[in-house]
């Protein structure tokens, strides 16, 4: 592989984005860059798990969602009414639930295997479950009754939204720890489906527990780390400097905001990239590759495979959590219904594989490129269809049928591009060295 390959490919993406800027608009271009950067962070997280350690995590969407949840929990103002209506009762309920589980685990560990143990476990679990439901359900009902159209949830801590990013990482890491403790013993595709299922569970909770973050009713209007365009537009100083540059204030304000996000995202990406890169090219990375290659042998050579797996699973998930928080911040809203595995889990996987798994640069490239395509295949699809149908007689049934189906060109085009890329570089665009 030539050493010019990576710079060349990044150049290509840059050209594509600049092209968007010149041909479409700079706002579009910047938006693509921003989500591209977030996608790159996600891809970095997945690459950490798959590329470094061979962990097949298809629960990416769950960790992204947790990051999103962290944004609400950190940055939204608390809903005082809801707290007084039943906040403490909910917390008490959750504590009861946790206590039940802990008790059950302790019983399981400390009693001999016997009928009595089974019976005791059953009593603890069933009794605990009903107690939990009783306390918890009451609290939930009270909280959700508080102005359901606008709130109906507990709200967050009201902290600056940037804090939500590390919080997202922490939340995702916590979940990853729990999951890892139970599921990491599984091999490849079995781990995959387990993580897939857990992600579904996380999303199901977020969709249905309205007291937490309004469920499918969505939380909109999240605080932003950058100024609002409308404020900028009414700020005379800003308008003046925009005029100096010869840009109209609306465009200037939208660009300004996007550039702000871009700067923040770039900083995060660079830090994470640096960390990942250092880790990969170190004895730690070597150890991880050894584990990926052959767990039995690595274990015999003194490497604690389970612990390392857990470590890298937590790290990768945390990165995904951070990315999820960044994305929700960029969107300005949390919409649990939109966390679809196709869009978030599998698209991220496409990014990692197309970029070249095991290669951090590849992940970043994959993230930027695939996101660019995901957005731009739509116009491309229309264009392609235009070409195909150009020769057909106007008003022919086939032509109108095809034009009606133009929207489906999006997935089709995406599929074709994916197949072409993988055809010409089957190990990804920037393969692992």
């Amino acid at each position: 592989m030539s050493k010019y390959r990576a710079p060349f490919l990044f150049g290509l993406v840059a050209v594509a984005i600049l092209g968007t800027g010149f041909l479409q608009s700079w706002n579009s271009a910047l938006l693509i860059v921003n989500m591209g950067l977030v996608s790159a962070v996600m891809a970095l997280g997945v690459n950490l798990q798959w590329g470094f350690a061979g962990l097949f995590n298809v629960g990416v969407v769950g960790f992204l969602a947790l990051g999103g949840l962290a944004t609400v929990l950190t940055s939204m103002p608390p809903v005082a009414e809801a707290w007084s209506a039943g906040g403490l009762r909910i917390l008490a309920g959750l504590a009861l639930g946790a206590a039940t589980l802990t008790l059950a685990v302790i019983t399981f560990k400390h009693m001999q295997k016997s009928r009595t143990r089974t019976a005791a476990l059953l009593v603890i679990l069933v009794g605990g479950f009903f107690l939990f439901r009783f306390v918890f359900d009451g609290g939930v009902a009270a909280v959700e009754a508080v102005n359901p159209a606008a709130t109906g949830y507990l709200g967050g801590l009201g902290l600056p939204v940037l804090l939500a990013w590390p919080m997202g990482g922490v939340l995702a890491a916590g979940a990853a720890w729990l999951i890892g403790k139970t599921a990491l013993g599984l091999r490849s595709d079995y781990l995959a489906i387990a993580t897939l299922g857990i992600a579904e569970i996380i999303i199901a909770v977020m969709k249905n527990e309205d007291w937490l973050a309004r469920g499918v009713k969505n939380v909109i209007g999240l605080p932003r780390p950058v100024p609002y365009e409308v404020d900028l537009q009414s700020d005379p100083a800003f308008v003046a400097s925009a005029a100096n540059l010869g840009i109209d204030p609306v465009t200037a304000s939208t660009l300004y905001v996007k550039l702000g996000y871009m700067a923040l995202f770039t900083v995060v990406l660079l830090i994470l990239f640096w960390m990942a890169q250092r880790a990969l090219h170190s004895p730690w990375g070597r150890m991880m590759r050894a584990i990926r290659d052959n767990e039995v042998a690595a274990n015999a050579m003194g490497k604690d495979v389970t612990a390392r797996h857990l470590q890298v699973f937590i790290l990768g998930s945390a990165v995904c959590g951070i990315a999820g928080a960044m994305m929700t911040t960029l969107d300005g809203q949390l919409t649990p219904g939109s966390y679809q595995p196709l869009r978030y889990t599998f698209l991220i996987w496409v990014m990692v594989i197309v970029g070249g798994s095991g290669n951090n640069l590849g992940s970043i490239l994959g993230g930027m490129l695939i996101w660019f395509l995901w957005v731009q295949v739509e116009p491309m699809g229309h264009f392609l269809l235009g070409l195909i149908t150009a020769g057909m007689a106007d008003g022919s049934a086939l032509k109108s049928h095809l034009l009606d189906s133009a929207a489906h060109m999006r997935l089709l085009t995406m599929g074709l591009i994916l197949l072409l890329v993988l055809r010409f570089s089957p190990r990804g665009l920037i393969p692992e060295e």
Partner: protein, 336 residues
């Protein structure tokens, strides 16, 4: 009497639908499991292959219906099935030729193939919608019910009805036949054994004189047949809509994995585990308890362990528990 009513209610709302759904999942899972077992990757395009095969069946069915051909009381679609299978087989063989073969020759890692199959999925997805559109299509005809609620009530004098649809009966029957055949084929025929040999050790299969391209071809043809059958039966029971077939992918994979990837028997078991766990854990026992408990003690609530919002989550929890105790599924599948 009340006891019987309770049993019937339970059968009607839990057992019968779960059996049918389980068989539908099982048929889908068989295809997934076969590709995993022989060609060693998780085929994400399977849902859309099912959609494609079903689409072919739907169109042929329409043609038959237009010509007035029918095999009532059975649905005409059964007559169209062989044609659909042929068309679907042509498609998957074409895809293999154009796409997968290249990666086989490269000895690409399974994950690459997974992603490639996602590319194929996108393309098929678009293709199906181009051809037949996005709407619901109904193509079932013939007798809809084997046993209707009214007949059942008349026959037994019970308050509760039991309904069995033709499509449900067909699905369960087909699933049983297909899995039995497949099991026999893989373990007792030369072709079947050569397929397993190929999946085990490709190079050595070559050295034994097994023609890999032939193995691959047979696999794809069987997969096409399975996908078309599964898709058609599902479509007959519910309806044909491309988007749903994509959604079907997830429970299908869950079924294949719970059962043990690569194992046909596992696919069946997995299908039922998933289906029954979805339906039973979130079942509201009120209706049954009303029959069983003495008057006055009837529950006021729904007596539901968990709300149906969590049905999918529940089936995944069960899946997890199964995997924790049997890490490669119920029927000891493989892992690549």
């Amino acid at each position: 009497m009340d006891f019987l009513n309770a049993v019937v209610a339970l059968s009607n709302y839990v057992v019968v639908p779960a059996m049918a759904y389980g068989s539908q999942l099982a048929l889908g899972a068989l295809g997934v499991t076969l590709i995993y077992g022989i060609l060693r990757f998780s085929n994400f395009a399977h849902g859309d292959t099912m959609a494609f095969g079903t689409m072919a069946v739907v169109m042929v069915t329409w043609a038959f219906q237009a010509m007035g051909v029918s095999i009532a009381p059975l649905p005409t679609a059964l007559l169209a099935l062989p044609f659909g299978i042929a068309i679907c087989a042509a498609l998957v063989l074409g895809t293999d030729r154009l796409v997968y073969r290249f990666y086989r020759a490269q000895k690409a890692k399974p994950v690459i193939l997974v992603i490639v199959s996602m590319g194929v999925m996108f393309v098929l997805n678009g293709l199906v919608r181009f051809i037949i559109g996005v709407d619901d299509q109904r193509f079932g005809d013939g007798a809809r019910l084997i046993l209707s609620a009214r007949d059942f009530k008349k026959m037994t004098g019970l308050d509760e009805g039991l309904v069995i649809k033709t499509s449900q009966g067909l699905t369960v029957l087909t699933a049983v036949i297909v899995v039995a055949w497949l099991y026999w084929f893989l373990t007792h025929t030369r072709s079947g054994k050569s397929m397993r040999a190929y999946s085990d050790n490709e190079d050595l299969a070559l050295l034994s004189g097994i023609n890999p391209e032939r193995v691959v071809m047979i696999t794809w043809i069987i997969v096409a047949a399975l996908a078309t059958i599964a898709g058609t039966l599902y479509g007959l029971d519910k309806s044909f809509k491309p988007f749903t077939y994509f959604q079907l992918l997830l429970p299908i994979f869950a079924a294949a994995i719970v059962g043990g990837l690569g194992s046909p028997l596992g696919a069946i078991a997995g299908g039922f585990v998933i289906a029954f766990s979805e339906v039973t854990v979130t079942y509201a026992w009120k209706k049954v308890l009303v029959y069983l408990l003495p008057e006055g003690l009837e529950p006021t609530g729904l007596v539901q362990l968990l709300s149906t919002d969590y049905k999918f989550a529940v089936s995944f929890v069960i899946l997890l528990i199964v995997l924790l105790f049997r890490p490669t599924g119920l029927f000891a599948g493989k892992s690549v």
